[in-house]
Subunit: 333 residues, 2 copies
């Protein structure tokens, strides 16, 4: 196991134990708490908590002081996954049935809401006000709520795109910036704030998180077309069947001939598309250079994210964050 993998597991363990304390399986109604824990307990790399903890330490803070916020941002992420799965009618997540598939839409809605409430409960209840000033905690809470507003806007754009014929690259970036990058950005910024960073440092950490988040989503889009079901945790080609407008599709539609364009649009968003049909589309977008284009873009953002850290002194934490950026890109293989 590489040093980064070891660090990721270590962070995940700490964050997971904390989450188990704040979202207790023993509470009533059991149905609600079981549903809320379902996706959390199914795994996940806890990347956002990692950003919080390492950013905090990078600027001279103590990881302990950032644990509640780190856990809270994982709860926030999980809440968005549960609700997004309902909206996108996704049936699998992390290799398990999604919450609404297992318990129905009403329970999925309310268990997402519960996790969202727990985000703020966790930060306000468990942050150590002797060590981090109430003013800083308020700053964290403001960043977190702002990011959630942005995520809701991003999710709405994403849903609207499915009914739009042409999506511009600019529109695509506006969407993933809101839907994915905002939370990475906020995670790094909150870590910095909790660690006592100067404003300029918080901004740089935000830039790091933001660029890493954009790259993460681009790589995710590639994996959605190229990975197998086991690695994905959900059926291959579901992005295509759902009509998701990834950058790959945006690029392909722009560079396709009239007949290729027609073929892509016929398959896109067609829930009865066969695996052969979606495979054909993957071949087509590959031949159009769209996958390569997105991979190159992801690489650019990764380089950009690492550059944002160049002014910080050369510590273990900076190395960890740089390695994380590289790992985000390396996932595509």
């Amino acid at each position: 196991m590489s040093h980064l993998s070891f660090q990721l597991v270590e962070t995940a363990d700490r964050v997971n134990s904390f989450i188990k304390e704040v979202v207790e399986l023993e509470r009533e109604p059991a149905l609600l708490y079981r549903a809320a824990r379902h996706i959390i307990d199914a795994g996940g790399k806890r990347l956002r908590p990692f950003l919080v903890l390492k950013s905090c330490k990078l600027v001279g803070g103590r990881e302990e002081d950032a644990i509640p916020t780190a856990a809270a941002l994982e709860l926030l992420h999980t809440f968005t996954l549960i609700h997004d799965d309902i909206m996108d009618e996704d049936e699998k997540r992390r290799g398990l049935p999604t919450v609404h598939t297992k318990w129905g839409v009403p329970t999925a809605i309310v268990s997402g809401d519960l996790l969202f409430a727990k985000v703020f409960e966790t930060i306000t209840k468990y942050s150590d006000l002797e060590r981090v000033s109430p003013k800083r905690i308020l700053q964290v809470l403001r960043n977190v709520s702002d990011a959630t507003v942005t995520i809701c806007e991003g999710q709405t754009f994403d849903m609207m795109f499915e009914h739009k014929r042409t999506i511009l690259e600019k529109e695509y970036f506006k969407m993933i910036q809101a839907k994915t990058a905002a939370l990475f950005e906020t995670s790094a910024k909150c870590g910095g704030i909790l660690g006592g960073a100067k404003e300029s440092q918080v901004a740089l950490l935000g830039k790091y998180g933001y660029c890493a988040g954009i790259a993460f989503q681009l790589v995710d889009d590639v994996l959605g077309l190229t990975a197998n079901e086991k690695a994905l945790g959900k059926p291959v080609g579901s992005d295509i069947r759902e009509g998701k407008r990834t950058l790959i599709i945006v690029h392909a539609l722009k560079h396709a001939s009239r007949s290729q364009r027609k073929k892509i649009l016929e398959t896109l968003g067609n829930s009865s598309s066969s695996p052969t049909k979606t495979k054909e589309i993957v071949g087509l977008v590959t031949s159009l250079g769209s996958i390569k284009y997105v991979e190159d873009k992801a690489k650019e953002y990764i380089e950009e994210s690492k550059k944002a850290l160049s002014n910080f002194s050369d510590t273990k934490e900076r190395e960890a964050l740089i390695n994380l950026a590289d790992l985000i890109f390396a996932r595509k293989h």
Copy 2:
């Protein structure tokens, strides 16, 4: 117009203008913001903001300092309404189609989420930290997030009850305590905290809000069976068709003969029940004394809520809160 009605309108106007600033119709995506504003703009008495503002002033604070929290708690209330309407499959609210009926479930989910995020954004962004200390704001945020966790638990109990044959009175009270009273309690407490109240005062305000909230729900249950569609803003008898376990039903089932019990259970939760059939059930539960029983209970809680204010000095604000409690009971006529 009575003095209280005048005060309610005045508060509502202030809170409404503030809400229009924090949930702007002009923002993109327009669909999201229009859906989020739909139920807010359809009216409502703004009772929870009223509790916040008057409680704040009662303990010597300034209403201005509590406006962001007052507005935020109305947003919180609206978020729960939007999501509850999806879960309960309600088609009308405040005389208009519900959000999911008008725009579909996905948009209703995400617009509820947006309002929930706005709750915390509003408090953290607009509270005047020069006038109210960050520590007090954190206390407010903790109360608000705790209340939301409780509301989610209450909503889940409510949904579970629809599938249960027997509900005890104790279980019913546990449910409405969580689903309705917690937010009234929190509104009064937050007002107190923002106004600089002592802990004992905050507790008394909480008791006032809690008891008023229980009474509010009991009266709501009565209105659900006895009011006309115009007053309700939704079809008469929908509680019965949805199988809602109100205290009226709990009491009636306990005191019904075997054949009466059978009749009630046949109609309860039967979405195709005719208006004649639901009318028959209303007649039956009236003859069993169940409506009178619930009205008497509501009256007890109203008296209890007013008693909690007896130790405060006799100000205009105390009078307003006492009158509000009376109004909550008087709604039943």
